[in-house]
């Protein structure tokens, strides 16, 4: 588990909007159903002597196909849970889970924050209230996370954290 520093409190943990993994898992489930219509047609194309063999073999291949799709769902799941922005009272930690084992971790201290931009990508973003947060720091680096739920509230929390940190110093 990630560890926070001394006197550091987690203020906000941001994952991608629930719609994003739901759409991806929904597509995977739809793709899983595609080979099923093959089974009733096997009798038409296969000679009677081999129909049982063809049915069992097709069923076995479909089960392997489903296992591979389940692996894909696992990878989506890992990406969803490990792709985060963690806002604390001292810093913002950005973890970009690019694939199953490839991840990029970067962070900036809230007092280095220059500006923060929220972009709503389109109709779905407006309806389900998600968007992209882009934070620029004093070192001209920028930290971006796509499909953030309620991005304006997240922006407000990051800005409040920066303001509180600067006022306390």
């Amino acid at each position: 588990m990630m560890r926070l520093g001394h006197e550091e409190k987690a203020l906000l943990l941001i994952h991608k909007h629930w719609l994003i993994p739901t759409i991806r898992i929904g597509i995977t489930l739809f793709v899983a159903l595609i080979p099923l219509p093959i089974l009733p047609f096997l009798k038409t194309f296969i000679a009677p002597a081999y129909q049982d063999l063809a049915f069992n073999l097709t069923l076995f291949l479909i089960s392997l196909y489903w296992l591979i799709l389940l692996l894909g769902i696992f990878i989506l799941w890992v990406e969803y849970w490990l792709d985060i922005w963690l806002v604390t009272n001292k810093r913002v930690l950005s973890v970009d889970q690019m694939s199953l084992f490839k991840r990029k971790i970067s962070e900036f201290h809230v007092d280095n924050l220059q500006d923060i931009t929220v972009t709503i990508p389109g109709f779905l973003g407006r309806v389900f209230n998600f968007g992209t947060i882009d934070a620029h720091t004093a070192g001209q680096h920028h930290f971006m996370m796509r499909d953030v739920p309620n991005p304006n509230a997240a922006r407000r929390i990051v800005l409040d954290s920066a303001e509180y940190f600067i006022n306390r110093q």
């Binding site: 987690a10 076995f60 696992f74 990878i75």
Partner: protein, 79 residues
């Protein structure tokens, strides 16, 4: 002979899938953020994997591998 080859290929495929899923569960546990709780959903996915694995194992054992006519493929088709 075909059964042995199919069994080896099956063990390799299941081994690769199982290893990747195990590594992803370990990664989810070790890299989780403070306050995250995904144990139940990960458990459900793991159960689903075991169910699908058992289903594939049963279907694998039901296939009469040695009866597959590799050379006379045209005999299989309903022509």
């Amino acid at each position: 002979m075909i059964f042995i080859i199919a069994l080896i290929v099956y063990i390799i495929v299941i081994g690769v899938i199982g290893t990747i899923i195990t590594l992803s569960i370990i990664q989810l546990r070790t890299n989780r953020a403070p306050g995250d709780n995904h144990r139940f959903s990960t458990f459900v996915l793991s159960v689903l994997f075991i169910v699908l694995f058992l289903f594939s194992l049963i279907t694998f054992l039901q296939v009469p591998w040695n009866d597959i006519p590799l050379l006379d493929v045209t005999d299989i088709l309903n022509t």
